[in-house]
Symmetry: C2
Subunit: 401 residues, 2 copies
Amino acid sequence: MDWNEKYSDMARRLSSSALAELFQLTERPDVISFAGGFPSEDMYLIPEVVEVAREVFHRRGATVLGYGPTPGFSEFREFIAQRQSLLGMKASPDNILVTTGSLQGLDLLGRLFLNPGEVVIVEAPTYLGALTTLAAFDVRLEAVPVDDQGLDVDQLEERLQQLRRRGRPARVLYTIPTFQNPSGLCLSHDRRIRLLELASRYDLIIFEDNAYGELRFEGEELPTLKALDEEGRVVHLGTFSKIFSPGVRLGWLHADAGVIERAVLIKQGVDQCSSSLSQLLCLEFGRRGLLERQIEITRQILRAKATATLRALAEAFPPTTQWTEPQGGFYTWVTLPPNVDTQEALPRCIREARVAYVPGNQFYTDGRGHNQLRLCYSQPSLEEIGDGVRRLGQLLAALPG
Amino acid sequence: MDWNEKYSDMARRLSSSALAELFQLTERPDVISFAGGFPSEDMYLIPEVVEVAREVFHRRGATVLGYGPTPGFSEFREFIAQRQSLLGMKASPDNILVTTGSLQGLDLLGRLFLNPGEVVIVEAPTYLGALTTLAAFDVRLEAVPVDDQGLDVDQLEERLQQLRRRGRPARVLYTIPTFQNPSGLCLSHDRRIRLLELASRYDLIIFEDNAYGELRFEGEELPTLKALDEEGRVVHLGTFSKIFSPGVRLGWLHADAGVIERAVLIKQGVDQCSSSLSQLLCLEFGRRGLLERQIEITRQILRAKATATLRALAEAFPPTTQWTEPQGGFYTWVTLPPNVDTQEALPRCIREARVAYVPGNQFYTDGRGHNQLRLCYSQPSLEEIGDGVRRLGQLLAALPG
């Protein structure tokens, strides 16, 4: 039977993404991986999780193994709403939907708001997982550049005007305003205000991805877009992947109660409910104050690793190389001399330097970024960071100019 | 901001399904619920799960909390492939994709194979969760009746002919051939052979949902469609929800390796990977032989509960009522005299008789089944079954004729 002729139009459009291969690279023990955006082992509180798991089974019994309600356990939604409120985003449990990771949140939002052909604005560069998720909706992605203050709001305004003039107004903006993936940078406070004004003027819905927002290790806190959002245009995507565990697959949507209600209807047909075990584990972990403890530990580790990464870059990379200086999150974004093609160089980097990263072009919609790369410093040890960046720098410096 | 004008065409079509309300009904402690298709507490092996969880964290450490590969851990895919092979369905790990529950499997298949407007054949009645999932793809559902031998293959052939003649050939058949939801019945062996012949003649893809297949408590085993499938037309959907725990959200797809590869690409954008914690827990539970022990216990409990249910129906229900006699699974399907409207009667049944069920019309695409209902006997205790069926029968018998 020939399956190729059976696929849907959407499935035919798919091409293999870099993400899957990343996972395979990181499985080779002699490779130092700056590729996947994973927490490192020393950020987890494993003995505490084991104790919490024991307690949760003891107290909740069969509830842990049974189905939960589609929107999430009400206690857990309450817990998330309280955390959001503490972070300046007023919320009641009705504003919260528990998702199976924040990527599911984005998928649900796509189903909720996107018709084929519609215009979605993304940052250039942006999170490649989001590009994969959005591609499934057959929308037209318009990329607006980020600079060291985050998304370039002047260029955004120009693009919004153009699009409106052409009769194809943008419907949604997907943004990671804080410790952006892959740039590591933040949208400045002034631009946050300006972005919300533009959203209002051009009737944009904002999907705010806040995966790294709580992981600041330097500088002053910035309010989220959701915290500044007076009109209720911002749908906020949160995740426990970077502050508790990606392996439990838990995130949340924070939005208008009516939007949440409709997202629940979609989730019923998508995976019915998120894991009860994961939810009750994370809830009890949080109630014991362990989320805050893990966040504090993670920040300290990230601070040390970011410092080591930037120092090693300065020592080992070709002199005209530029990189961003993150104040939080997992990433620095490296721009090499134009003769370097990071996608082409990757197999050699892995084979000869035994170092992995994600090539820059993966984060653009149009193949730009050939001389850029993302370094994720969260997972390797301090020693590996020094060695890995050095080996990578030597190999890249030796490439023909 | 008016969100109603913002929704996608798909999201506008959604209407609230019965599933969500079911969860709420079952939360009232004085209501005996025959509604949701849940395992009962005494089917779970909680102390064993706790011990397995402890061991898994001890042996695997941070792997339990980290991201897993999108297709599932290779050891777990191997484990599932071996189980499938033991059940007569030859499989290698390449044929298996771990899903976040089997409903996600169906959602992935929809994305993989269904374009808007295409024809999908379903059974009448069929699993309401599948109807919700399929509805999202804007396909045309054609329902073919089941009788006491399962799907009526003669009517199926007629319908396939008609559809082909009209130039709208059916593309997919979604079927639950064993202990069907909601009828509780099985497709006979002869009809299984005939169904596969028809699929070949009419170039149909079969989605085989086998959620209850391992839960036979009476009669002889039947081969799955996948086991009989010589052309490789059957995509098989499995789940750990009824044999281990629905709360861990784990199912699998078993299909041609090329189909699995493409489903993996879709899953990357949907939830990236299924829970590592759930996978490693279930794997270790299975390796210790505990899945087999839980299945054996579940069968014994279901046998007793089905017997009690059928006995109580005979004693307490109006004399012209009919019901199915399942040899496995969770359900009996009840047909009342035509004057009874089970949807209309449900609020009174809950309020006055304090008994919940799912009204028949929820399982049809066209509102039929007004005098039918599904009784799920898996969750209430034997005593509750007796009381609940009696109270329900009395109330229904007293309805105006």
